[in-house]
């Protein structure tokens, strides 16, 4: 059975007088897709930015457990890039952030920076053509090729990333995040701007990641066809508070969620 991978307790984020996230607690499990949904401005992306170290929480604790090694990380105490490098939390962005002038393949190689850096003896050995670095780079290319095949981008591998169509850029961002070999993958609206067929492919890709790579996926999404179909667990935020938490079936019938999305009935107001 799956274990708890991420535990968020009493997370509160204030920007001056504005409380963006207010005392939110939830857990995400290994090998499960956990979705965070809610109306615009509910604080979903703020929670993500906190998890990946771009914001520091005002109050609260975020614990990440590597189930394979048993190591525990307190994310709120780590610098942003260390969360990715050591705690191995990878993320994508709502407004895609690729390296536009670099090729698709290079985007995936950059994602394996830390491993290659060690293999190249922090550049010094690599400069002189050290054999171990060449092997590491070949392995990095193989890993990139694997994800290129998975995301259907192999044909465009040597083209600049900015030339990809929108859906391709979204998939490349996921592939890039997976190249860091994360234990938790955080996706910020991966289906935004995709057509129904592309959404379908995205669902398949996420399911594949969950079952084959045995990692946890945390997902912010507005597209309910994606959320309801692939999520194992859903957390609903509204005005910075958690209003519901449960399986897709439970959420679909939760009165608080319906109220948040559709508004109060006239007579109750």
């Amino acid at each position: 059975m799956s274990e708890t991978l991420l535990e968020v307790e009493h997370l509160t984020i204030r920007f001056g007088g504005l409380v963006a996230v207010n005392d939110v607690s939830f857990a995400a499990e290994d090998r499960r897709i956990t979705a965070v949904i809610g109306p615009n401005g509910a604080g979903k992306t703020t929670v993500f930015n906190c998890l990946t170290g771009f914001y520091k929480p005002t109050v609260g604790c975020m614990r990440l457990l590597h189930t394979a090694t048993g190591r525990e990380f307190l994310l709120e105490r780590m610098e942003g890039f260390r969360i990715a490098a050591q705690a191995r939390v990878a993320r994508t962005f709502q407004n895609i952030r690729l390296f536009p002038k670099m090729t698709v393949l290079e985007n995936l190689i950059v994602a394996q920076h830390n491993r290659l850096m060690r293999a190249s003896g922090y550049t010094v050995l690599g400069l002189f053509g050290y054999e171990g670095y060449r092997r590491a780079e070949a392995a990095a290319i193989d890993r990139a090729r694997y994800w290129l095949d998975r995301t259907g981008l192999t044909d465009r591998a040597d083209a600049a990333a900015e030339g990809l169509p929108y859906g391709g850029q979204r998939r490349l961002e996921i592939a890039r995040a997976m190249c860091t070999e994360p234990v938790l993958l955080c996706l910020d609206e991966p289906a935004a701007g995709l057509n129904p067929r592309e959404s379908e492919e995205l669902n398949a890709l996420l399911r594949f990641i969950k079952t084959e790579h045995k990692i946890g996926v945390l997902l912010i999404e507005h597209d309910m066809s994606v959320v309801m179909e692939i999520s194992d667990h859903i957390i609903v935020l509204d005005y910075g508070r958690k209003i519901a938490d449960g399986t897709p079936e439970q959420i679909r019938n939760d009165p608080a969620v319906i109220r948040a999305y559709l508004g109060e009935p006239e007579e109750a107001a």
Partner: protein
């Protein structure tokens, strides 16, 4: 008059042309109106007001012609500019061809400017207008601009492809240069200067071109390198040799780069540029005012020249040393002493240093650190989300760039034999940056071309050096208009899937 001509608004036209003439007046009063000349025993201030007046008049007439062209009076402009160009040709040609006094007097009647090249520039402008009017012009559309950009990229790609052969060819040419021009001391001096700037350009290219950190104070590290060597080599009791000081100077400049980098590198873009500009000036001002340590504005002189394995390049070597020509004459065949021997030696030193920088830059681009630099230039936030330490990555770029600046500085000190704060003013940073921008960010061959253009050409045409900065500015404006990404702007991927071969994932 053509059918497309629109009715003229004389008032607006006069206003526009008058404004142009006014701008020229303000510029020309300072640049052209006054001149400081050496007279025996002193310097004197001369005025050239007729020249200023002529410049304004030419600007006014030229602007009117441009307006007429814009409004569709093509025939009138063609005839007017054509007649003017023809008249100028008749007036100027005899002087250039025969150089007699009568011819000069004739030319002077046509135009007050002293330098023939300026007169010919006016002629060229008139001719250009006439041709422009005759040929007519297509309106540029956005698609045209895009197509032009794509064409520029293709051209860059082609050059990059040729560079594989052109690079070694250029290197061989540089190696052979002293053999061809070795006897010409002037030519060797220019070659050394150009090579120094190529090295500085390649060094700065790592910082600006690869890592995207706009550094306007690069000359500071050049200064640190130069003073490190100058002080170590001239202080009594130390007096270390060039080859011992060279790595030290580089290391110290790199260290200064890292120290400056720490507080500065959290800034981005324009802010970073401004702060680095400030740091560049701070270093210079400190050197200028720390009299006890650096000898202030007087500079440090009598810096020893490098020796070749202990062989001196002097005609009369100091006691206990052998001179190169003596040694060579003893062991091989007799050679006369010549000051160019030393120049040739210096040229090979700077060539070797520059090639080291080039080798590093080309190699580092294919290393994880080089890719991280480029990724950081593209998107810093994405880099952080991938576990790349942005501070360290930027610091390495800054430090490595500074180190190469320090190497070049210590070479500068030994080749000149004298350093003073005056050599490390902001304009030096600007020239090095201009070389990088002109050449195309990240393009190694582009830097060579740009250094040849910006340093070599002005040195070759020293007699018109009054107009050097004008030509420099004109070149920069031209580049920004027609090749905003630089002469050779094309990015080659550092790794390709196709070339990597097919291997299955285990």
């Amino acid at each position: 008059m053509t059918a497309a001509a629109r009715p003229l608004d004389i008032g607006a036209m006069a206003k526009e042309a008058g404004l142009t003439a006014f701008v020229v007046l303000m510029l020309a009063i300072v640049l052209v109106g006054y001149e400081i000349r050496d007279v025996p025993g002193a310097i004197a201030l001369f005025t050239r007001f007729p020249d200023v007046f002529a410049a304004c008049l030419i600007a006014f007439v030229g602007r009117v012609a441009v307006i007429l062209l814009r409004e569709g009076y093509r025939d009138a402009v063609m005839i007017g500019a054509g007649v003017a160009a023809f008249a100028l040709l008749i007036g100027l040609l005899p002087e250039t061809l025969f150089g007699t006094e009568t011819a000069t007097r004739l030319a002077n009647r046509f135009m007050p400017f002293e330098a023939p090249i300026v007169r010919w520039c006016v002629f060229a402008a008139a001719l250009f207008l006439a041709v422009r009017a005759a040929v007519g012009r297509r309106k540029l559309k956005v698609e045209d601009l895009k197509a032009r950009e794509a064409a520029a990229d293709r051209a860059g790609a082609r050059v990059q492809h040729i560079a594989r052969y052109a690079g070694p060819a250029l290197g061989a040419a540089a190696l052979a240069l002293p053999v061809l021009f070795g006897s010409d001391q002037q030519a060797m001096s220019v070659a050394i200067l150009v090579m120094t700037y190529i090295m500085l350009g390649w060094g700065l290219n790592i910082v600006v071109g690869l890592a995207g950190l706009l550094d306007l104070g690069y000359v500071a590290f050049y200064a640190v390198g130069a003073y490190t060597f100058a002080l170590l080599a001239t202080t009594e009791g130390i007096e270390w040799s060039f080859w011992l000081c060279l790595p030290l100077a580089g290391a110290l400049a790199g260290l200064v780069g890292v120290l400056l980098g720490f507080p500065v590198l959290r800034l981005r873009g324009d802010y970073l540029a401004i702060v680095t500009l400030g740091f560049g000036e701070i270093i210079r001002v400190v050197i200028q005012n720390w009299y006890g340590f650096t000898n202030g504005a007087n500079g440090i002189s009598a810096i020893p020249r490098p020796t070749l394995l202990g062989l001196s390049w002097d005609e009369e070597p100091p006691a206990g040393q052998t001179a190169f020509h003596q040694w060579f004459s003893q062991n091989f065949w007799p050679v006369e002493y010549s000051p160019t021997h030393e120049k040739i030696y210096l040229f090979y030193i700077i060539l070797a240093l520059a090639l080291v920088v080039n080798w590093f830059a080309l190699r580092a681009r294919r290393m994880p650190i080089g890719r991280a630099w480029e990724a950081l230039r593209e998107d810093e936030i994405a880099c952080r989300s991938l576990g790349i330490n942005p501070t360290n990555t930027k610091l390495t770029a800054f430090g490595v760039g500074a180190m190469f600046g320090g190497f070049a500085g210590s070479f500068f000190a030994t080749s000149q034999g004298f350093v003073s704060p005056e050599s490390f003013v902001f304009i030096e940073s600007a020239i090095i940056l201009a070389i990088v921008v002109l050449g195309g960010f990240g393009s190694q061959l582009g830097v060579v071309l740009a250094a040849l253009l910006l340093i070599g050409l002005p040195e070759a045409f020293r007699e018109v050096k009054d107009f050097r900065m004008l030509a420099f500015g004109l070149a920069m404006v031209g580049i920004m208009l027609w090749r905003p990404a630089g002469l050779l702007a094309h990015r080659d991927p550092t790794v390709r899937l196709k070339a990597a071969g097919k291997r299955a994932k285990p």
